[in-house]
Symmetry: C2
Subunit: 275 residues, 2 copies
C-alpha cells in the first residue's frame, strides 16, 4: 500500500473557495499530497443548473484521473449537493463531499435541535444539508438561507466591512429568529467570513465549518482503507501540492497565497472542456 | 434586399444583462427580428481572462450563424472590450459592440471634459472605454471604477435598497470627487440601477446608457447597408424574437419577462461547448 499511500488526493471546486478545504487537508493531514483543480473559467456554480454542474464535474473527474490520484474530495458545496452520485460513478475510487461531514457535525453539536444553513442558492434548493441532517436525526429542524452576495463580497475583499456586516445580518436574521444554536457555513468561501459571522451571531451559536469536518473524515476514510500516506513529505519535495485551473492562473495563485499555509508558485491551465 | 431585411439580428451576452440591449433594439427598431443568446452556463464574463472570453465568444458566433442572421450585436461590455476583433473575424458580417456607441455619446455629452466609467473588472482592465473616448477626443479625461458587486446586487433583486445605495456611493465616490459631469453605465446590468444612480449622483451628471446608443447605431448601420427590415412584424407572428441559453431557461425567462416589453414564453438550451 506504500505506492497507493503516496498517491495524491484529487480536490476540486468551482474556483477559489475549495482552497479552504485544501487548507484544512494540509493542516490536518500534513503527509498527504494534493492535486487541486479550480474551474475558474466557469465559476460560479452556485447559480447554475444540476445538468450543467454534473457535466462540469464529470469533466473535472476525468481530468483528475489523469493525475494518478487515490481519492477525490469535492471541495464545493454546490457540486457535492448536485453531483456527488455522478462523480462517484465516474470516479471509480473513494469520493468525499463536504455536505455529509458538515451535516454530521451539526447534528452532533446542536443542543436545542435547531440548525441553520447558509449557502448558495443552488445548494439551498437541493435541500442537501436538511436531507443529510434529517437522515441522521429526523427530530432536528433545519432552517436555510441563500446568501448570493457573500461570495462576491469575499472576492471583492470586503471581509471586514460595515456593508458586509449588514448583508450578513440580513441573511442571518430569520435563522436567528428561529432560535438556531448551530450554523453551517455551507459554502467554501464562508469560513473566510467566520470572524465577522462570529461577531454578529455571538458565542451562543456553534459555527460548523464543513471544510474542517471534511478533512477529518478524509483522514478516517484513508486510514480505514489503508490508503493513508505513511511517509512524510520531505522538505523541498517538488510539488507535493499541484494546482490546476481552467482560467487565469495569476488571480488564482494570488488568492491561494493569501489563504494557504504553503507558497503557491504556479497553477497550470487545463482545457477542461476537452475532458 | 427584402430577404436580408427580414433576417434576424444576432444578439449575445454572457447571460441576462444583454437583455437591456435587446430591449432597446425592440423599442427603437420595432421591425427587426432578434435571435438572442445568453451564456448562462458560463456567466459571468466580467472576472475572466481574454483567452477564455474570446473562445466563448467565437463559439457563440458559430452558433448564431446557424440562425441565418444578418448582423451581430455584442450586448456585453466585457465581450466587446476583449473580443470584438475576434468576433468580427469569425462573423463575416457586420458586428456592433456596446463600447464604441457609448464612448461616442459620452464624448459628445461632456461639457467639462471629465467622463466617468463604471464597469466590471475585466472591462475596466482593458481600458476599452478610455481608449475609445481618447480616440474621439484626446483632451477628455476618463476616470474608471470597477463595480464587482453591482451585478450580484441586481440579480439578488436589491435594486432599491439602502445597502445598494451605500455600495454604489462607495464605487462612485472617487469619480464624483474628480468632478465628472458624464457617467457611462459600462455594464449591461447597470441601466437597471439607473434610477438609484440618478438619485445618488444628482441631475448634474449625464448618465450614458450604451444599450440605447447601440440600438441607435445599429439602426444607422442597417440603413446604410440596406439591411434594415422594410416590412413590419405582424401581430401574432410566431417568434420574431427567439431566445437561446446555455443553462436553466426558467430563471432566464423569468428575468426576461421582468424587463422586456414582450412576453417571453420559452428559451431553448444550446450545448454551446460543441460549437
Amino acid at each position: 500500500m506504500e505506492k497507493a499511500g503516496s498517491m495524491p488526493i484529487g480536490v476540486f471546486d468551482s474556483g477559489l473557495g475549495g482552497l479552504t478545504v485544501a487548507r484544512e487537508i494540509m493542516r490536518n493531514l500534513p503527509n498527504e499530497r494534493i492535486v487541486y483543480f479550480g474551474d475558474t473559467a466557469r465559476v460560479p456554480y452556485g447559480s447554475k443548473s444540476k445538468n450543467t454542474i454534473v457535466r462540469y464535474s464529470r469533466q473535472i473527474v476525468r481530468f483528475l484521473k489523469t493525475q494518478d490520484i487515490k481519492a477525490i474530495v469535492i471541495a464545493c458545496n454546490t457540486a457535492t449537493a448536485l453531483a456527488i452520485d455522478e462523480v462517484s460513478e465516474e470516479a471509480g475510487m473513494p469520493v468525499i463531499g463536504v455536505v455529509e461531514p458538515g451535516a454530521r457535525m451539526a447534528a452532533e453539536s446542536t443542543r436545542n435541535g435547531k440548525v441553520g444553513v447558509i449557502a448558495t442558492r443552488a445548494t439551498i434548493h437541493t435541500h442537501a444539508y436538511s436531507n443529510a441532517i434529517r437522515r441522521i436525526n429526523p427530530d432536528i429542524r433545519v432552517f436555510s438561507q441563500a446568501g448570493a452576495l457573500l461570495v462576491p463580497l469575499v472576492e471583492e475583499g470586503w471581509v471586514h466591512d460595515r456593508v458586509t456586516d449588514e448583508i450578513i445580518m440580513r441573511y442571518l436574521d430569520d435563522l436567528l429568529e428561529h432560535g438556531i444554536d448551530t450554523l453551517i457555513l455551507g459554502c467554501t468561501h464562508y469560513p473566510l467570513l467566520r470572524s465577522t459571522i462570529r461577531k454578529l451571531v455571538g458565542d451562543e451559536v456553534t459555527l460548523i465549518n464543513p471544510a474542517y469536518e471534511t478533512a477529518k473524515e478524509l483522514g478516517r476514510m484513508l486510514a480505514c482503507r489503508g490508503l493513508e500516506s505513511t511517509g512524510t513529505i520531505e522538505e523541498g519535495e517538488p510539488y507535493p501540492y499541484k494546482f490546476f485551473v481552467s482560467d487565469d492562473p495569476d488571480k488564482f495563485t494570488s488568492f491561494a497565497n493569501s489563504i494557504l499555509p504553503v507558497d503557491v508558485k504556479m497553477a497550470k491551465i487545463v482545457p477542461i472542456e476537452e475532458y
